[in-house]
Point group: D2
Amino acid sequence: MSVRVGVIGAGVMGADHIRNLHSVVPGATVTAVADVDATRAAGLAAEVGADGIIDPYALISRTDVDAVVVASHDSTHAELVLACIEARKPVLCEKPLAATVAECSTVVRAHEAAISGGIPLVTVGFMRRFDPGYVELKHTVSSRAVGDPLIVHCSSRTVTSGPGGDSEATITNSAIHELDTVPWLLDSPVVEVSWHATRASQRTAHRRDPQFMLIRTESGVLATVELFLNAGYGYDIRCEVVGEDGASRLAEPVRTLTDHALQHGHSYSKDWVPRFADAYRLQLGEWIGSITEGRTSTLASARDGLQASVVAQALITSMHSGGRTVAVESPF
Amino acid sequence: MSVRVGVIGAGVMGADHIRNLHSVVPGATVTAVADVDATRAAGLAAEVGADGIIDPYALISRTDVDAVVVASHDSTHAELVLACIEARKPVLCEKPLAATVAECSTVVRAHEAAISGGIPLVTVGFMRRFDPGYVELKHTVSSRAVGDPLIVHCSSRTVTSGPGGDSEATITNSAIHELDTVPWLLDSPVVEVSWHATRASQRTAHRRDPQFMLIRTESGVLATVELFLNAGYGYDIRCEVVGEDGASRLAEPVRTLTDHALQHGHSYSKDWVPRFADAYRLQLGEWIGSITEGRTSTLASARDGLQASVVAQALITSMHSGGRTVAVESPF
Amino acid sequence: MSVRVGVIGAGVMGADHIRNLHSVVPGATVTAVADVDATRAAGLAAEVGADGIIDPYALISRTDVDAVVVASHDSTHAELVLACIEARKPVLCEKPLAATVAECSTVVRAHEAAISGGIPLVTVGFMRRFDPGYVELKHTVSSRAVGDPLIVHCSSRTVTSGPGGDSEATITNSAIHELDTVPWLLDSPVVEVSWHATRASQRTAHRRDPQFMLIRTESGVLATVELFLNAGYGYDIRCEVVGEDGASRLAEPVRTLTDHALQHGHSYSKDWVPRFADAYRLQLGEWIGSITEGRTSTLASARDGLQASVVAQALITSMHSGGRTVAVESPF
Amino acid sequence: MSVRVGVIGAGVMGADHIRNLHSVVPGATVTAVADVDATRAAGLAAEVGADGIIDPYALISRTDVDAVVVASHDSTHAELVLACIEARKPVLCEKPLAATVAECSTVVRAHEAAISGGIPLVTVGFMRRFDPGYVELKHTVSSRAVGDPLIVHCSSRTVTSGPGGDSEATITNSAIHELDTVPWLLDSPVVEVSWHATRASQRTAHRRDPQFMLIRTESGVLATVELFLNAGYGYDIRCEVVGEDGASRLAEPVRTLTDHALQHGHSYSKDWVPRFADAYRLQLGEWIGSITEGRTSTLASARDGLQASVVAQALITSMHSGGRTVAVESPF
């Protein structure tokens, strides 16, 4: 009675999902892996006893595939998710839902037409919603333990941005996590944004880095977002909510503290893998559980995916117009 | 191909194992639950689609039970584990392995005779070996990042000792975690111990609390162990290894930090459940995985269980003889 | 050979200076205290064996006053500092140097004319420059231990704003510390600012609170400044400098950590007194030392005081023009 | 009206006192410096405008010396303090009060005879009593914020023990701070001790290092003391008091936190100078203040100095008799 999952995309993220579904998440079996690189697909598939294929549409239509994970290139998301909707199979699409706002809108419309108020098929992998730290922070906010939220501070710093990618990609691929997390934490959509340059790091010529953004929710809360992809020192994600009666923030996810060579402290991880391992595991667990039980999951919805893309687009507009404040307009 | 597990004991600990096996650990199905309280057994069994029965020996011999978790009263452990050995079924026995050193020895002898050098059937639930913090600490020690270990400090503080239990039980039920953890961390058995009273807490008349112990490993390292069951302020487990070149310790397992009412800090949990949730999950996962793959697991062995009981016994001897230093003698 | 100091203003801040000069700072004697409230002046004067008077100008001209501390109402600063310049007596003026940019300019011009390149008479009490935390942070930045600075985050949260005061006063009286600290830390003046509203705290009707500001230095660094006077939870001053190679920030100034009632943490102070006691002591010590030794002190200069006021004025302009970016223009 | 101080001993500790008295502590003037090394005495004396001499007894009898600091070799303490008592001049003697318990007793008897119930002349430099962290911890204990104290944990780790010194010196020179601090914190004398070896560090052949001690107060509290002089990683002093209702401990004295090269944390100092700078300054300030005001100071008394030596002696006895528990017997 295991849910039989097909995974599209066998890159770093897809491989992580495949291994999690195979050995960490209960109730799931990976039956098929599709990748443009047949060797890569075959290798990963063999690891978990699945079939490795090239064609993702073939994967979606297989009778031994009950549900689909889309972890392929961003540009393919929309078409693949539409095919899953067509096949009426639950799909977990890695963020972003689609490469453009227009594509996101198309997906959302098709999805809503297909389910007509029933249990959604499409979910989006904003896994921070499942990180135990963010969950505890959201609980603190909802419980009003720090009073009405007034201001939020976020920063996402990573070791390096890697090759490729431009200033816009910093927003659509990285800041997009904050663009989903902030309205989720505060239960209020983002209505206004502005983008602000900082002195540029010499570590990258490809894009402005760091970047600083202000986003304002419908409830009036100002959230600050610093994105620094080439921070060098470590993978470091922070979030603080300041309310009328106090403030609460993510603690550093640390397991041991070490004293050595006149220093006390802890190590940073180099990337998201250890930092968000629990979040990815718990997200997949909830997704599989919701399919098994035939209920709506608590994952980010297609609308959430669209909304984050709309906010990202407004930030890009601000970036290209001297940092002016830009209103976020919902497409429908 | 799921491992079909029968769980004996449907108290707090057994219930936790049952729910973990059902919904968090991949590859397992709970098929039977046995408890002296038939209603309790039936209730939990119904929750996971298993049969609830009274007789634990009947459970062990069921054909739909591949492996057994023993989480019943300490006094029953030896007989139940012996029955599992007899039935040649893998068994995860909650600590302690048995109520007395003599019983532990009987179990170890029977077990070793039964497997004659093959893959062990018996494992003991010293789950701290799977806590990510302890694992990281052990890795730091083994990697010699802090040099040769010289001294270790442990403390286990809990909110309350609850009703019942005497001074000896503090050692055999609570300190026993440290009695396993220290030699595991240092890869050297405990050879000498002494027990030391402190000023007694007024919160309990049943037992000396807190208690302080010194244990020395074969490698010469002195470990200090403070057990304070009625510490009141929170569930707080600490461990620090001090070496030639540095020191490393468990960080407080904290997810968020809050500022409120002139205070900054984090909350403690009231009991072990959130603190060691990952450890229990990972221990069960490794146990099920080892059964599926037909290999020796990395759980504590029957010998480890015996060894911890022998050290506990030496501490009780020291307690009853004015805190003198007592040598730990292995029974065979 | 003690420096004989007259203190103008016997309110909270003046009283603090008087007691510090009397019992904590070596080399100084308080000989006169002036306050509009004669009783208050007399009381404090008696405490340290000084004369209590009303007229501040009389104090400045006394032959037993070698140097003057101005801690009276902001509106009096300019005239009193001008009188000290006239009398050629060293003066430590509490921030702000004067109530308006125009007055600050007048003071700076008069001062520079009077000393014509010699040792300055006027210093401004931006005491954070003497806080050991800020000093260590500045050393980290200058030593390039975190590489070229790219972005700075500051926040100043206090328990309550008290009665009176408007939105502008938040900038000229409170944020002004950051307006001095940031260019001092980075060794580059502020050239551009913008002001941003947040959702308003219900705790005050008098002013927008919290407020958020962006200030940019000539070197291109963006600094974010959050001012939240009615934060309620404690007196909490933060500053972080993010550079190409790392980040460094003020630690919380904590002496003990306490576990109690399911909480771990430390207490906040209610106001600046314990937080900046060392800074005030060290600032006065340096001031007295520089007078004794006849050298230029390391305190903030009159120009620094002017510059901070100019930046504050630009922020107020931004506040009143929809948060647009405003260039900081030096008056001469 | 400054207190004119003569300082005996111009080594590291004496130099520190001289500079503190000259430039950090109000109300004092250093008028004479005595050292067996005439050049060293002259150099330091010149720095502060004092006379540099060789003969400490000549220093004590100078008419321009009102009070004396004894910071010379331990073996000279008793004779010099006796000479100060003879001259009826207040003396701050660095710990230990004298090299042996017998000498300490002689000093205490002579002192008590000389002052016959009046204001003491002799104080001992247990400066940790003035460290703001220890002061806050003592306040927490006295206020009963953590309930009746039950157990205390202390550790003192330093970078290196330097040349010379034996296992006994670890107790009489280093652990002696804890031997004073614990009874001061708990307001109860030490009545019983035991000494315990650990695996020995390879960094020193001169002495056992680390060492572990148990000391028990009259009130029944057990205190654990770890001394590790060659800890290598940094100068790190810890103290925690565990009570019926909670626990409180010294926070690490940290001013900034830095992220760099995959590490987060803070630096340790190499020695006591930055760690206890405030304690030394505040101790000297209180000493000078008490002399100026003609009152008993809050410094450790001659009896406190004797008591710490008696406890140290008991620990040495335990060390030489297999770690057995030794009762602390007061000499009179």
